[in-house]
C-alpha cells in the first residue's frame, strides 16, 4: 500500500555546530551518564532463585480446579474449556453427578490437563461458566516425566488447595467465597480472568463480563505480590 502523501513528514537534519562537530562534548556527556550509573548503582537484576519475581495479578501459570463450598470439584463437565482450548490439551470424561449433588447434572469423572501442551493462554478460564478452572501464579513447574506433567483432577484440585489462600490467587468466585457450582445465574459478574484497568477500552464496553476496577489498585503495583 502506498503511503498517503499527507502522512509523510519531512524533517530537516539538525545543523551541527562547532562543538558538536568535534564530538568532544557529546563524549563527555555520555561519560557523565555512564559514570553516574556506576556511582548511583541501582541494579534492576533479580537474583532469581533467591529473589522471586513479583508477578502481576493476572499472571497465567499452572491451572487449578476450584472447589465449591462443600469442598467438591466445582466443574460441571460442560466441556466449554476443552472446546475453547486452542492447544487441545484438556480431556474430560463426564459422568452423571451423584444424586446428592443437586446443583448440577454432570461432573468430571476424569479431568486431564496436559501442562506441557498448554500455551497458558487462559482461554479455558475465560470459557468456564462456573469459574471452575483458573490459572494461578505458579510459573516454576517442572517434572521428571511427561506423564507427571499431565495433571489429573486430583492434582489440579491439589493446586487449588495449595493456592487458595495465596493473595496472588484470590478466589474469584462469589466475591472471594466458595459457592455452589450452578449459581452463576444469580451471581453478579465477577472479574474476568484477565483484569482490565479502567483506562482500557474494553473496560468501558457494556458487554457482560468486564468489570471496572476503579477501586482496585493496579495489579502491577501490588506490593503484596513480591513475597
Amino acid at each position: 500500500m502506498a503511503v498517503a502523501k499527507d502522512d509523510v513528514m519531512w524533517i530537516e537534519e539538525p545543523e551541527m555546530g562547532f562543538w558538536e562537530m568535534t564530538f568532544l562534548p557529546a563524549i563527555l556527556d555520555g561519560l557523565k551518564t555512564t559514570i553516574r550509573h556506576v556511582t548511583h548503582y541501582d541494579p534492576v537484576t533479580q537474583q532469581y532463585p533467591e529473589e522471586k519475581p513479583s508477578l502481576p495479578l493476572h499472571y497465567r501459570g499452572v491451572h487449578r480446579l476450584n472447589r465449591d463450598e462443600k469442598g467438591r470439584v466445582k466443574c460441571v463437565a460442560c466441556m466449554l474449556c476443552a472446546t475453547a482450548c486452542p492447544a487441545d490439551c484438556i480431556s474430560i470424561e463426564a459422568s452423571a453427578a451423584p444424586p446428592d449433588w443437586p446443583d448440577r447434572d454432570k461432573f468430571p469423572a476424569t479431568f486431564v490437563l496436559d501442562e506441557l501442551r498448554c500455551i497458558y493462554c487462559g482461554m479455558c478460564e475465560e470459557a468456564c461458566p462456573v469459574d471452575a478452572i483458573e490459572l494461578t501464579h505458579i510459573y516454576d513447574l517442572t517434572g521428571e516425566t511427561r506423564e507427571s506433567m499431565r495433571f489429573d483432577r486430583e492434582k489440579l484440585l491439589a493446586v487449588y488447595d495449595k493456592t487458595k489462600d495465596d493473595p496472588r490467587d484470590p478466589l474469584r468466585t462469589r466475591r472471594g467465597k466458595l459457592g455452589p457450582a450452578a449459581d452463576f445465574g444469580t451471581l453478579p459478574t465477577v472479574a474476568p480472568a484477565t483484569q482490565v484497568t479502567a483506562g482500557d477500552r474494553s473496560a468501558q464496553s457494556t458487554a457482560p463480563g468486564t468489570i471496572h476496577t476503579y477501586n482496585n489498585p493496579r495489579p502491577f503495583d501490588d506490593p503484596g505480590g513480591a513475597t
Binding site: 502523501k5 530537516e12 551541527m16 562547532f18 562537530m21 555512564t34 556506576v38
Partner: protein, 394 residues
Amino acid sequence: MDAILEYIPKELITTLVTIAVVVGVTLGVISYLILLERKLSAWMQDRRGPNRVGPMGIFQPLADGAKFLLKEEVTPAGADKVLFYAAPGIGFMTTMLAFSVVPFGPVGVEGIPWFVRFLIAPDVNIGIVFIFAITSLSVYGVILGGWASNNKYSALGSLRASAQVISYEIPLGMSILGIALLGSTLDINTLLMQQTGSFWDWYFWTQPLACLIFFTSALAEANRLPFDLSECEQELVGGFHTEYSSMKFALFFLGEYAHVILTSFLTSILFFGGWHFPWIATPESAYTGAWVVKIGVLLFKVGMVIVFIMLLRWTIPRFRFDQLMNLSWKALIPLSLANMVAVMTVLQFGWDRWWLTPISLGLFAVAGLISVAMKRAEIRHRPSAAELAHQFAT
C-alpha cells in the same frame, strides 16, 4: 648455588626473571581485568555482573579459564591447519613481545633486588619503533586467522579488521613522532625520564592533541569499542574469529587485552610522566621503598587509563565502517601530520615549548571548523526537506 651462578651471566638471570614476572603478571592481571570489565559493564548497565562463583564472583576468571580449556576445539573442514593454529599465537605473541621495551617501573634506581629490572630489554634505543613494528605484525594474526578459517564471513571480517588496523597504524605512529622529536630519542625509558622534572614536564601539556590522537588510534589498534568492527559481537557474524573455539578463541581475547594494557602503559608513560608524580615519586625521592611507590604510581595511572577505556566502551556507540575510515584518513592523519610540522617548526626556530599547547588546541579548533564548514556546504547543496516535500507532492 653460588658455584652455578658463577657460570651463568647475571644478565641472563635478570632477563629471564623479568620475563617470567611480566608474562605471569600480565596473564594474571588480564584474567582479572576481564572480570573487572564485566563488573564495570554490569554496573554501567544497572546489572550485577558475574556474582555466582565465589564472593562477588572473584573466582569467575578461574571458571572462565576452566571452561575455555575444556571446551571442544573445532577445526573447520577445509581450514588451512597450520595457519589456523598459528594465527591466535601470532596475535598474542606480537603483543606480548612489545612489552619487552616497556619500562614498568623505575629503571636503574637503588634498592631493587638485582634479579629484577623493570624492563626486559634495556638500552633498546629504538623502543617506540620496535613497539610499532612488532604490534603491527599482529594484523597477520587477524588476516591469517580469517583466511585460514575457510569461511566467507571470517575472510570478510579479517579484511575489515586489517583495513582498520593498517589505517590507524599511521596516526598512531605519527602522533608519537612529535614527542620523539621533542625528546630527540626513541627510547621509551629516556622519554619517561625527561618528564620526571616536574608536573609540567609531562608531555600531555605540550602535546594534548597528540595524546588524543594516540589514544584514539590505539583503541582502534586494539580493536576496542567504539572501534571493534572486527568483532561486532552484538550484530554481525563474529568477524575474523568466527570459526575459533575454546583456547584458540581465548588467545585472541588475551591478545586484545594485552593490547589494552600495552596501550595504557604507553599512554601513561609517554604522556603522563610514567611513574613520576610531584612530591610523591620523583627521581630525587630517596626514602626506603620509593621504587615500590613509583611502581604503584605507574600502575595507578595505567589502571586509570584502563578503566577509562572500559567506560568509553559503554559510552560511545560503534562507528560505521566509512566513519571509521573517514576519522582516520580525513581527521587523525592530517591532524597528526600538522602536529608534527608544528613541533618541527617550534624546534627549528627555537621557540618556547609552551607554544605547542595553543598550537595543538588551535589545530583541533581548525579541524572542527573545517568539518563544520564542509557539513554546511554539503547541506546547502542538497535539497531541503521542504523542496523534497514539494517534489514528492507534485
